[in-house]
Chain length 307, copies 2
């Protein structure tokens, strides 16, 4: 079992109504890999600057960093954002791409033979370039963002045609297809080729669409959300990490993977950055998995007409 | 088994991007009772004007109308609304309360002994007045709207303290408690006394809160929503109607009732007014119940750490 993630490693500065953190480990590859590391071995392809000093977090989680390029004379990607009480929407204060601006993913020979790949939010040409170097991957998943839908939609659609699973949020699905109805938008995206589409809905949960099935789950009910940064990548990490631990990547496995993704995301938002997730235990993860079963269970006793 | 609903009977004029209907049967008691009639016997307490000519619909569904007051010299409540492509929000064009303006629910002796009661969206003093006439009811549920939260919040809270189940949407729960986090808002409402709180979330489904459990379901995935008017009351009708058919009103029954409520609401939005629901069959209802089971099922195989 082996899983590769291509994405960003960053330092985030985040302000929420509950507190402020001036510098914490962030970026899609960080959140994804720490989450996935509870389920499988995961390797990162990313770039950092000479100022990066948090390699120990990856090491302690057994995450492979042989493809993390270090540009000593450059600085690590930095992002600053603020959340108001509506924690669904981040207000970006600044984005300093730094060494990430010229990121060209370089895959070692071992990485090219990973069984599963997650293409984190990147320019879609770069995502496609990675995918083309890994023709034997059993399952390739992709995330994206509104920026690429706005500016490079054609390239993004071409990239989507070459992957197995698309993981985006509902606004992105509507924007990508220009179809307001989410179910129709999902059918459109699946018609381009992917075997599965996952729609993340924040506090409303997530849904899994395949050409002939639909699966939907609520979010874990949290009385306080502290910092939502990285929740989407943490979800993807739990999803892909669990799949990577399974021999058969069928729909049954994907449904369970959705639950594990939601479990990991629910922990992520409880503290700043990767703080909560990195010290999780398997018992805590499994407890919350069971909670999902309890909160979605109903007996199948159909109504018998009394007439 | 007997169920009573107190609410409005109205004529609606509705315009959606897909069509227009100048006059159709509407109102909370109409949508509720037609939906509930597939599961139980239901009686209506309401008022209509001399222009009301749709009694046949109630008759054909076996709905009791002995407490429907007819004011010959008055006109039936009329509401006009328009939906844009975002079908979640109705724009009210006009509200002519007519005979509904002076509605004072009058319950016959038989009605006072109904086992279950649904207090449709009414001024909360009136709702409380009905509840006080029915001290022996086994389960009393209530709906409300932003108007009553804005203008008569104290009375509404007092009414909520006297009922068993509150059925509202997420914006109303937040407004009622002034708590942005839905889970905390739900805890607050339950602390006032009700045994259960149902939060309707439109296209995102619904959730059931009790003092010690949480249950959440997605909405049935619809590729086209034609007219959402009455979906909330149709949900409540399926929920209360199914409960009324059950001997034991425990949490297991309430969870199944949530599914039947969602099933009925999903049919309601497929056509104008009560058109789709009134000609449903039990087979169609049960088929969609089974679909809910399929779209929420996952195997409970927790993750075993490979370490």
């Amino acid at each position: 079992m082996s899983l590769l993630v291509v994405g960003s490693v960053a330092y985030d500065e985040v302000e929420t109504p509950f507190g402020k953190c001036e510098k914490m480990l962030g970026g899609s590859a960080s959140h994804f890999s720490i989450s996935a590391s509870f389920f499988t071995h995961v390797d990162i392809v990313a770039v950092v600057g000479g100022d990066f000093t948090d390699g120990e977090v990856f090491e302690s989680r057994g995450i492979g960093t042989r493809d993390v390029e270090r540009i000593s004379e450059g600085k690590t990607f930095r992002w600053g954002g603020r959340y108001e009480y509506d924690l669904n929407v981040a207000k970006t204060l600044y984005t300093d791409l730094n060494v990430f601006a010229d990121f060209r993913p370089k895959l070692s020979e071992e990485s090219k033979h990973s069984r599963l790949v997650f293409l984190g939010n990147l320019q879609p040409d770069l995502q496609r370039g990675v995918r083309e170097q890994m023709p034997d991957a059993e399952l390739v998943a992709l995330d994206t963002m509104n920026l690429w839908i706005d500016h490079t939609r054609d390239s993004l659609v071409r990239t989507i045609k070459g992957v197995d699973v698309v993981i985006i949020n509902d606004a992105e699905a509507r924007q990508l297809t220009a179809i307001p109805n989410l179910i129709k938008a999902a059918r459109e995206i699946l018609s381009w080729g992917p075997k599965a589409l996952i729609i993340k809905r924040g506090e409303y949960g997530a849904a899994l669409f395949t050409p002939d099935s639909y699966f939907a789950i609520p979010a874990y009910p949290l009385e306080s959300v502290f910092d939502p940064t990285g929740a989407g990548d943490t979800f993807a990490g739990g999803f892909m990490g669990y799949l990577s631990s399974q021999e058969t990547l069928d729909e049954s496995a994907m449904r369970r993977a959705m639950i594990f993704g939601s479990v990991m995301a629910s922990f992520n938002v409880e503290e700043f950055g990767t703080e909560r997730v990195k010290r999780l235990t398997h018992a805590e993860i499994n407890d919350r998995f069971h909670a999902f079963k309890r909160m979605t269970h109903f007996d199948e006793i159909p109504f018998e007409a009394k007439v």
